[in-house]
Symmetry: C2
Subunit: 470 residues, 2 copies
Amino acid sequence: VPMSSTELEAALGAAAEASRRWGRLPAADRARALRRIADALDQAGHDLVPLAQRETQLPAPRLRGELARTTFQLRLFARELDGGACHGVIVDRADPDWPTGPRPELRRMLIPLGPVAVFAASNFPFAFSVAGGDTAAALAAGCPVVLKAHPGHPQLSDRTGEIVSTALAASGAPEGTFAVVHGVSEGRELVLNPRIRAVAFTGSHTGGRALFDLAVSRPDPIPFYGELGSLNPVFVTERAARARGAEIAAGYVDSYTLGAGQFCTKPGLLLVPSTSDITERAVASVLARSAAPLLNARISAGYASTLATLTEHDAIDVLVAGVMGEDGPTPTLLSTSVSALLAHRDVLLAECFGPTSLVVHYASERELLDVAAEIEGQLTATVHGDDHDEIVPPLLEELVERAGRVLWNGWPTGVSVTPAMHHGGPYPATTSVLHTSVGTEAIRRFLRPVVFQNMPTRLLPEPLRTPPVA
Amino acid sequence: VPMSSTELEAALGAAAEASRRWGRLPAADRARALRRIADALDQAGHDLVPLAQRETQLPAPRLRGELARTTFQLRLFARELDGGACHGVIVDRADPDWPTGPRPELRRMLIPLGPVAVFAASNFPFAFSVAGGDTAAALAAGCPVVLKAHPGHPQLSDRTGEIVSTALAASGAPEGTFAVVHGVSEGRELVLNPRIRAVAFTGSHTGGRALFDLAVSRPDPIPFYGELGSLNPVFVTERAARARGAEIAAGYVDSYTLGAGQFCTKPGLLLVPSTSDITERAVASVLARSAAPLLNARISAGYASTLATLTEHDAIDVLVAGVMGEDGPTPTLLSTSVSALLAHRDVLLAECFGPTSLVVHYASERELLDVAAEIEGQLTATVHGDDHDEIVPPLLEELVERAGRVLWNGWPTGVSVTPAMHHGGPYPATTSVLHTSVGTEAIRRFLRPVVFQNMPTRLLPEPLRTPPVA
């Protein structure tokens, strides 16, 4: 249900109104509010999970796990606030003998940007949605959130939004600290509204780039933190293929079919030696998989269309043709050669959101470098190898240039929620070099530095009153 | 002298070629190279200062001081590299019992973005030019620099560039780590060239916004760190005006006429009680000032034109009309009221680059809040007050929202080069919330995070091999 302009305007006005009070609450108070949201969501699980299941077709165990991840994430940011590291304090004491002339006392900290528009994702109705990572990070930073719900789970969004708002109110947060809005044109209005000071987005490349273009077209451009997806290539060396072919084939099929392939970290490309049995083993594994429903009709249609472009392409061999049934599609497996991949990179190196992946056969390990040099920015890149493989150092050198996370002998799905995690990468994986939507550094996106020069202690913000001097 | 396309292409190709080698040098080696550049510039002072003087009309003592500041800045970044904090290492050890499922080992660090285009400023031929803060920060980060020289000091730019290149070569930096280019269309080409991974710019709002628009229009948008200037309002409370009127008047005139008013931190607006003698004292001080030449003919023309718009405006009283002579203009002092300022904010709240400033008379201290609420993003905002003034806390609350540096009983010119310094602010002061072109955090602009998952120690970049675990 799209909102009226008046309702949208009211939500934005309330967010602007709430901004300073929420932003200036002691970090410990915001931490308490985040924990209260987490507790309330945990308690509402029996209500939220069935609702999510109805709207997204995702299985209940997965949804319960995702809700647990979401509340853990809120508590992780609360812990980050407890520590105070989020203030990024740097202090220079006054120094009359500083080499470039007398130095004043400078006390620097990070302060919130103001109201943030968060666009929820379709594929994580909890963890990247109403009370997901971007919301947790923005609220932790001290920014009110106006949440643009994903049309794939509108009722769940409203219900989650009520729980968040109630918990915030009970924690003493000002009214307007959080609101849920619906509608495509409403989303565009948010990005252009002068009260919105930053945008966080998880979704398609097309939608994300269009909103990015709006954000930077403003009279006052604002940061747009967009996560637009990824192909997540996996490179298997000859030695790894020989030593662990069965394990790699199984891990690969598990990873690309997980959640019906609806993850931005799905391995969409697997490079294996043409002589290896990995392909054969993967085919056998894929044939044994059953159908799993896609999130909604729009995603099904998008999947069918992208998949058709691939399966009908001359350069593609269809190893397993998935079948679309009542319970959704069974997985598809495609293959090609390195030379065909590079000759048709525009089509074959595109993300296909759903349970399909492309095995690429190489004749020589040197070809791994040719592929690595051609891929665009990625959330992840993975190498399966032996740490004495000669190809590995130059391959890692290429991959580090192109990915935000580089994995060794693992699989990119199942992003661990932990401080060091980075979920971002060079464009087009994300639109900002500062982007991460997992890991506590995500909070940094919604803060900016301010330095106070020779300010009396009692006029300083609390975090700057007694900090250590560097 | 604009370059040929072939020369520009060669410089970009060499920068791309140098990028990985420079970026992967141990930080200590880059620190050594920065120190060698600083030493070489210090030694060439007798040569560079007269050249700068000829091209910019700035007095020799100021230029010598600026050169010292520039080489200090290079050494400050070198020291930052020594400490290793620039790597931003975060490590999560593997944890099979992590609440959201077994956690892999994650080692995260910051890596360089790749070649950076730096646009030099007119008004700091050393400190914000060829070997200035942006160059020092980008080189420290591990990014090659293609420097777009300012047309106001082309020979100095080439000579400084030679010294930088020679010092880099002698330090073992790869060829292509640094180059100087000239020309307006060449600058645009840089911003659009796929090899350039970030832009740092100091200059006018018009020029900066045009280049920002190009940077974000690319198929792969890149960060644009633009510093586009500032009005730097100064708010004087009634009590401060009574207690320290003479001191404030003298400090104000010193600050706004320093360097012939050609600083982005020049106080362009001074708010004083209408009953105060500060205005009268400032007039007397301004009348005693002599002429100082502007940087070049283009800046003179721009100053004359903006000043004419102000002096001819109905809402403006001309307190002291500067005279343009052979030695440049004498300072101008203007005044208006708060109500006139707010009624004509579009014209009166614009930056005028040169030795002029606007005194705004208020009838009641509450009007300070009205003005504070209307100003756009600023590099600095200053309060002269008594720390028991009731107006001060709400005034600071407004100013923190709008400025990157908030000063107490001081003057914004003379930006100290020190770790905590922040030289940036909300748009239009700067185009990025991450922006600072002074202070060691400036290095962060040219880095992005990468996390390594379960990577064997010998395959990790050196800074991640034995870091402390969080």
